[in-house]
Symmetry: C2
Subunit: 483 residues, 2 copies
Amino acid sequence: MSVNVDRRVNGSALRSLLGSWQRTGPAYHSLADALRGLTRSGTLPLATRLPGEREVADALGVSRTTVTAAYDLLRDEGFLVSRRGSGTVTTLPPHAGDRAPVRLGTMEGGLVDLSAAAPAAPRQLADACAAALDALPSHTTSAGYVPLGLPELRAALAERYTRRGVPTTPDQILVTTGGQQAIHLLTSAFAGPGDRAVVEHPTYPHAIEAVRAAGARAVPVPVTARGTDLDLLASTVHQVSPRLVYLVPDHHNPTGTSLSAAGRERVRELARRTRTVVVGDETLTDLTLDGPALTPFAGGGTSDRYVVCVGSASKSFWGGLRIGWVRAHPDLVGALAQRRAHVDIGSSVLDQLVTVELLARADEVLVERRAMLRAQRDALLDRIARDLPDWHVPVPAGGLSTWVNLGAPVATALAALAHGHGVRIAPGPVFGVGGTFDDHLRVPFSQPVDALHRAVDGLAAAWAALGGGAATTRVASGQQALV
Amino acid sequence: MSVNVDRRVNGSALRSLLGSWQRTGPAYHSLADALRGLTRSGTLPLATRLPGEREVADALGVSRTTVTAAYDLLRDEGFLVSRRGSGTVTTLPPHAGDRAPVRLGTMEGGLVDLSAAAPAAPRQLADACAAALDALPSHTTSAGYVPLGLPELRAALAERYTRRGVPTTPDQILVTTGGQQAIHLLTSAFAGPGDRAVVEHPTYPHAIEAVRAAGARAVPVPVTARGTDLDLLASTVHQVSPRLVYLVPDHHNPTGTSLSAAGRERVRELARRTRTVVVGDETLTDLTLDGPALTPFAGGGTSDRYVVCVGSASKSFWGGLRIGWVRAHPDLVGALAQRRAHVDIGSSVLDQLVTVELLARADEVLVERRAMLRAQRDALLDRIARDLPDWHVPVPAGGLSTWVNLGAPVATALAALAHGHGVRIAPGPVFGVGGTFDDHLRVPFSQPVDALHRAVDGLAAAWAALGGGAATTRVASGQQALV
């Protein structure tokens, strides 16, 4: 897209935006990754004119060849466009978001879509919708704008927290347009240009994008097979004084690890002692497949100024309901409600009423959902063990995906090849900062068993075409995981 | 709210953020207005430590007394908090957004709420919802994430534009979570810190906030009783090279004026010639009450890179449906869909299906809606003419409100007093930049006639208490219009 190109960024400003962009591997790949990230997140607005190659090379202390190769790659991918007289300008690939809604288990365009880890709606949705329609007339005489959320939904969510052992009042709940909006609101409320936000690494990709969209830098703390490194989290918080820490304590996306009860307490103490806002994303908390339910991230604290929880109806119920929430101190809830007024004013009244009804049916919905996910997880793991015995596949105790270690940095290449074999999947680097995790692949088990079987067929064919992991060709990919 | 206060802003940075903050009236009021605006919009993130009074006074070249008075006012209003050891820190008033949904025509808490200009749902909503539920099962086997919008809604909206004389294909439509999200997405896509965006003045308040939230500066172009000053618009665009122009061409909110057909063509030519994105907010286009329908803002152009339209289901149908849209070049539609993925992923599937059904019933809905609004407008104007004969009240040819000239800068005081007489209303300065328009009041006629009568009773009592406009006391107010 070519629009007004009065916006320019010079070499030194670009250097400052890029920060520490260099990773292992070819420098032009690292530079392209970093520029792509800045463009996608909006840190570099659309139609910004980039400096010439020589100026960038001088500013970054790299060769001009590196810059030329990075620009070429981004032009090929559709993230840059060059025009005579206008220089090189940021853009986004045409129609990059233009795809039909994913139909789970079907082969739309021949593809099984594993790029999102999100299940279909529960059978109880129809009843919940019918009940919501019965409740609707008492709302349609209003203007329909409810920045804080409907009182009945705030009360139902507060009661749910309270029953889980976290005493909560409705004024501690803000209803949002999905969990993603909660993350976006919190990030933009606390972090601005030049600030730092600590994230787990790997993590949920849209959280990294929300941090970058605020102009802030995502500072990664590693998650290993044993979980988030809490020693490193504490030292990082002390070193970089982040404005926000974003964690997925329950069935972490994508690794599947969970914080222990003691680890949660340690995180809460860190938040209070350093007066740092720590956001715990509890999107997957209802999806414990093995063992007892996890202890709530908020602990037993009634109203904490630093420990903030984000929840969502997307995974417990359905992503088509754009309902999420924040549990926080009432003052923060009020402040966020003011800010969301210029973002989207309020959330769908109908979706809020449906969510109230689904919460009333949650026990039944979740028993069935967990049984379904257990069966799908086991089917996926069995089939991978049979057809892809080289892969190291952890058995997640909950959530919606497993974080496969491929043993070689070929995930991007594999994902590109898999597309030709009927599978859309997000390679590891989507979940990291700056091109890391190319030896990992997130494989969701949120789809029906027959679709998972077809997906493993496609992945196995792609793996064979790669030479069983022996190949290390890196294939550039513009793929993006939705969840 | 007190959180991590590591963020600081120094005097010179604050001066740069404030820009040209001085207005007529006391300097401390202007400074407080500007700081409040920066805090509300998020340009100054929550919990930012402001410089000391002496440093601000030096940086701005004003007396220390001015800064002290501005800080005191903001502390009283709850926008600043001072703590020993932490200095003076930005915050937002507790529970500022915490109010129940507005019930039109009822006296909740004794109040008639005229702060939003938004009608209740049409009677056809129930049928549309029932039909949407019938269509839902074909969507619930998907994950429910649709960044671009459901194909059936995009097709219905494209067809509606085409029938209005603007040939449009579905790939030119992005479905958003209300018109407000469309404005927010476009603003943050094109404008960043230090950029300028041109807005009409007065204008829709959440558009100003969206510009500020992007870190950009809103450059005002006046709207008089004869409409937007297009000469000044053209010269402003040439002078300040804005990244974006935001206009309300149809029944402008709040003045009620509309661009002529020739004016629209002039704006489109300006957009193309200067390669400036001009966003036309068509939220009120269906609500022409007198005379023929307005010519579409997009003209007859099939696919324009600079002329972008925003639409909404909120005023034609109901605000509780959080559905809006962008009509733009397909490349921009794809780019915006990518960006919205880290904002809220997608819009409610159910609301989209309901909107499809309401679009199929739009002719009937809108005939009834316009008849209702005509009756309410006439009832409001009659009653004001009888009880408040000093006011100058234009007769808007469409939309949802009239922009009353009070003849004296007392709107903020009047609104504060009106609250005690059972009326919540947004004074003129809410629709301006930096405390202007205190001689104006937006009075919506979106409520039932009996509520409008009670509202005029309350306004007349407040007006009498003010001394019939003779008083000029300025009362600080934290009120905010929702639409």
